[in-house]
């Protein structure tokens, strides 16, 4: 049996996932990382995007996080997400709506603060859509 690493995904509201994986992919602010068991200690800031757990012979499990912190210990990975969902629970229509709303807000920017907020919302919604698209491809 392949080596596995324990993964915990929690958001401020609830625990999302706790289990084992052979490989974990996550998106940090400086790019996507793939983490195998016995990885060295790492602590990273995450950007909105997916967290993917790979297990041989099983379908990948996908989660969506809106950002947060990723901590890696040799035998344990902790994802402290601001908000997180299982990818299956994501709602495509709602993500698209959010994108429209954010784009509109950016178009008639009133102040720089609003603009930054709209941009962050847009990035989040885009990341959600990316995850949904990917999930759909896997299922086909």
């Amino acid at each position: 049996m392949a080596m596995t690493i324990h993964v915990d995904i929690v958001s401020a509201e609830k625990a999302i996932f706790s289990g084992k994986a052979e490989m974990v992919y996550a998106e940090t602010v400086s790019g996507e990382v793939g983490i195998a068991p016995r990885h060295t200690q790492l602590i990273a800031q995450m950007r909105p995007g997916e967290v993917r757990l790979h297990n041989e012979g099983k379908q990948d499990e996908m989660f969506w996080v809106s950002g947060g912190i990723l901590e890696v210990q040799p035998h344990q990975i902790t994802v402290l997400a601001d908000t997180a969902e299982r990818a299956d629970d994501l709602d495509e229509a709602r993500a698209k709506e959010a994108i429209e709303r954010a784009e509109k807000a950016m178009a008639d920017k009133k102040s720089s603060i609003d603009f930054a907020k709209a941009q962050a919302e847009l990035a989040e919604a885009m990341a959600q859509l990316r995850v949904i698209d990917k999930l759909r491809k896997i299922k086909k």
Binding site: V10, E13, K14, V29, T40, I43, Q45, T78
Partner: protein
């Protein structure tokens, strides 16, 4: 003896009070259950982030974040106080404020100055009357406290600590022990307690930081404090509901007792009136004969 009519109105008014208190008891009971759920739901995050912070304390970071450094001489203390927004919850807030007044007295005796950040209407109205330096306040938190609205209050304190204005940051709230007991507690938030790491200096390691130690640690530690404060607010909410439930239950019981007593007096008065009437009729009839 009060007239029967007066007694009747008195009983009716107590009965309507009892109806209100028993309704409030039921509302508090159901809200307590929801508050408890919320408390449990936010626990995994708090536990995990605490574990990460513990790991961090065991590591040997090159960069020392201001939150992890102790000030040699503390001149000013920050205090985050969490209370309920509404009253009618027994001695919940009073117990907390009494404990705090004592603690603040001790601090002042030591020559420390105190900055307070307040959550909840009761704390705001209480501490406004005292001569304390209020740096931030927030009332009307609602039944489902949201993270975002609290950030302002917390940020004021964290910034003050980072700038070295305050040398210590504490949080005070009512801990939810059970539906019957709530305990006022004061905990230290900053400086972070690095814990006992003597046994773990077996080998030397540090994290890889992405993007940079400063940025990541700053985010992580802020999240940690925020999650602790959030936990405090949620726990205080559950305590409030539990205390209100108990207070309203005893108010309902008291009203019941009062009604029983008044009913007794009322029946006696009614009986006396009837007896008097009969004796009047009898004596009237006797006079005619």
């Amino acid at each position: 003896m009060a007239s029967t009519k007066e007694l009747r109105t008195q009983i009716a008014s107590i009965q309507s009070t009892q109806k209100i208190t028993s309704a409030m008891e039921m509302v508090a009971a159901s809200k307590m259950r929801r508050a408890q759920d919320r408390m449990h739901a936010s626990r995994p995050y708090a536990e995990k982030i605490r574990a990460v912070i513990h790991h961090l304390a065991l590591a040997h970071p090159e960069y020392k974040h201001p939150f992890m450094q102790k000030q040699d001489q503390i001149k000013r203390v920050g205090l985050v106080i969490i209370s309920s927004d509404r009253g009618l919850c027994g001695g919940l807030n009073t117990n907390l404020f009494r404990k705090l007044a004592k603690l603040m007295g001790e601090w002042e005796a030591k020559g420390l100055e105190i900055d307070v950040a307040l959550f909840g209407g009761k704390a705001v109205s209480f501490f406004k009357r005292l001569k304390v330096n209020i740096v931030a306040e927030l009332s009307d938190i609602g039944d489902a406290p949201e993270h975002d609205v609290m950030l302002g209050n917390i940020k004021v304190m964290l910034d003050a600590y980072a700038e070295g204005k305050i040398g210590k940051l504490c949080i005070a709230y009512n801990q939810f022990v059970s539906a019957m007991t709530q305990e006022p507690v004061v905990e230290t938030l900053l400086p972070l307690d690095p814990g006992d790491n003597d046994d773990d200096i077996k080998y030397y390691w540090d994290y890889i930081y992405e993007p940079e130690a400063e940025v990541v640690l700053d985010t992580l530690l802020k999240r940690y404090i925020e999650s602790l404060v959030y936990q405090g607010v949620v726990e205080n909410k559950a305590s409030e509901m539990a205390a209100r439930m108990v207070a309203m239950k005893s108010a309902t019981d008291n009203a019941g007792e009062l009604i029983a007593e008044l009913k007794l007096v009322y029946n006696k008065a009614r009986q006396a009136a009837i007896t008097q009437e009969i004796s009047e009729i009898v004596s009237g009839a006797a006079a005619v004969e």
